[in-house]
């Protein structure tokens, strides 16, 4: 069984706020849920499946109560910032199996104005990682960047090109947290956080959230608008592999082929890609791992505007991505899906809209490149794709 064509993304909503001191996380969950349902032409009473990550209180129990709905299908998959892409794949599978018809996915968080995030209990690895001062994502991703540079000669200037492309796109997004266009030199001259990652190699920290509504073909047909058809989905967990971690690749080497096979397309068919950009190195490794270029050649691929929309080799993150636009709750997965749907609908900003965008890819990387992460690839398309 495949989920190709089994479900559609009919509603999207990205909270316009980036600093929300006056709202609770729960307010934001409701705001984005209502926003995405309105976008779809549905309301809360239509929802029969609920998806959220592990940061939302007691997960679906908390949210179902707060939304005051009675879903017949729930899923609390927690793979960090890639969770929401997994939710889309799982929702499509559940819809294909006849378990539900209207699935709601929400994300909300306030890392900027007041952290109300997850408190996971320590795993068996904790005693061997926490004592070394490993207290932030940049440290972990830096380990991956350093090894990639060592093995393949990737440079800081090449990584900077990724931030530059994101900033070129962000200037057209009125809600972007950072709207200024930056140069390679700006990135290289920004303070070093954890070598080789500079401050501008890192994503923004913002409040906010987003929501998605995934529906069955029957519901999509009734809604009668341009919806994004779900063509393929793949997910994988990359971990330290009994102390043999390979820092040069992500779990996209596994999630990508699953998604492409299910969708029946190849990298050549992808018109636009939302690539998770917690850090510049995340993008570089993911592009290689998904097969847009050979392993180790990501640096050359992203140079000279390779990622700049609408006419670069691979137009990416046209909302400005996590690097410039938004990284709500320190989790960028939902905005990756949202911008991919905007591209398919032709609703991206005219300066960055890819002409005749037929097939889009969205990829999430949640957790850490330097230890363990969840990789999820989604391929979406127009109705006749």
């Amino acid at each position: 069984m495949s989920i190709r064509g089994a479900a559609y993304i009919a509603g999207i909503y990205e909270h316009p706020g980036r600093d929300l001191p006056d709202k609770t996380v729960w307010d934001i969950h409701i705001d984005v849920a209502l926003g995405a349902l309105a976008d779809a032409g549905l309301d809360m009473g239509d929802v029969d499946a609920l998806f959220c990550d592990g940061t939302a209180g007691f997960g679906v129990l908390t949210l179902a109560e707060y939304f005051n709905i009675r879903p017949t299908y729930v899923d609390n998959t927690e793979t960090g910032g890639s969770s929401y892409l997994a939710h889309v794949g799982h929702a499509a599978a559940a819809i294909a199996a006849g378990k539900c018809h209207v699935a709601l996915v929400t994300l909300a968080g306030k890392p900027k104005s007041g952290w109300q995030g997850p408190s996971f209990s320590p795993g068996p690895e904790a005693a061997f990682e926490q004592v070394w001062g490993m207290m932030g994502a940049p440290h972990s991703y830096a380990l991956a960047a350093q090894r990639h540079m060592y093995e393949f000669g990737t440079t800081s200037a090449q990584l900077a090109e990724i931030k530059v492309a994101a900033s070129i796109h962000a200037q057209y997004n009125p809600n972007a947290f950072l709207k200024n266009v930056v140069t390679v030199d700006d990135v290289l001259n920004s303070p070093m956080v954890a070598d080789p990652l500079h401050r501008l190699d890192c994503c923004v920290v913002t409040d906010g959230g987003g929501a998605l509504v995934i529906v069955s073909p029957e519901v999509a047909k009734k809604l009668g608008k341009t919806n994004a058809k779900i063509l393929g989905h793949g997910e994988a967990v990359k971990h330290t592999n009994n102390g043999r971690i390979d820092l040069t690749h992500t779990g996209a080497v596994w999630s990508g082929p699953q998604a492409f096979a299910e969708a029946g397309v190849t990298v050549k068919d992808i018109n636009y890609a939302s690539i998770y950009d917690s850090f510049t190195i995340t993008v570089l490794q993911t592009i290689e791992d998904l097969g847009f270029c050979e392993k180790g050649k990501g640096g050359a691929f992203v140079a000279d505007g390779g990622l700049v929309a609408p006419f670069g080799k691979l137009p990416f993150n046209t909302d400005g991505g996590g690097l410039c636009n938004n990284h709500p709750s320190n989790r960028g997965g939902i905005t990756k899906v949202i911008e991919a749907v905007r591209q398919l609908r032709g609703e991206a900003h005219e300066k960055v809209q890819v002409p005749n965008c037929q097939i889009a890819l969205a990829h999430g990387t949640g957790g850490s490149l330097g230890s363990r992460h969840g990789s999820v690839t989604l391929i979406l398309g127009q109705e006749d794709a």
Binding site: P122, P124, E125, A126, A127, F128, E129, Q130, V131, W132, G133, M134, M135, G136, H139, A142, L143, A144, Q146, R147, Y150, P191, M192, V193, A194, D195, P196, L197, T240, N242, G243, R244, I245, L247, S371
Partner: protein, 135 residues
């Protein structure tokens, strides 16, 4: 050179034997008696064949830097440490373990650099394994 804090590790049922040995300056690894896999981090089952038939041995304490980062500003206990190095060291026995590189200028750390273990005592009677350039 950085002066690092020596936070006590989170000792649990799964790792108490490992941390107890550190008090005597022994870096213990486990090896599977069925498939010969060397394990990291400590656990009851071999993660290659899932048997519980594993034994413990003293590692050489030598390895090379697999990757590293210079943390320019630490947080919490490491707030006052100054720039310091977090690394993965690939032990001679195979596992890549997270650690700090110490007793050298942080700017001189390189991937592939040979290193050896040094022990830093914690207030809980055990010790942290850190690595310095091989003397």
């Amino acid at each position: 050179m950085s002066t690092l804090p020596n936070p006590a590790p989170l000792v649990t049922q799964a790792n108490e034997a490992f941390w107890a040995a550190t008090a005597e300056g022994r870096f213990q690894l486990q090896r599977c008696n069925e498939c010969d896999t060397v394990l990291w981090f400590p656990r009851r089952h071999c993660p290659s064949c899932w048997t519980e038939n594993v034994s413990t041995f003293d590692a050489s304490g030598k390895g090379v830097v697999y990757s590293f980062t210079i943390v320019r500003k630490g947080a919490m206990l490491y707030k006052e440490a100054g720039p310091f190095v977090i690394a993965y060291v690939e032990l001679e026995e195979g596992p890549r373990v997270m650690t700090n590189i110490v007793e050298c200028d942080v700017e001189t750390v390189k991937v592939g650099m040979p290193v050896e273990v040094v022990w830093h005592d914690t207030e809980k009677g055990n010790a942290l394994y850190r690595f310095r350039p091989t003397v």
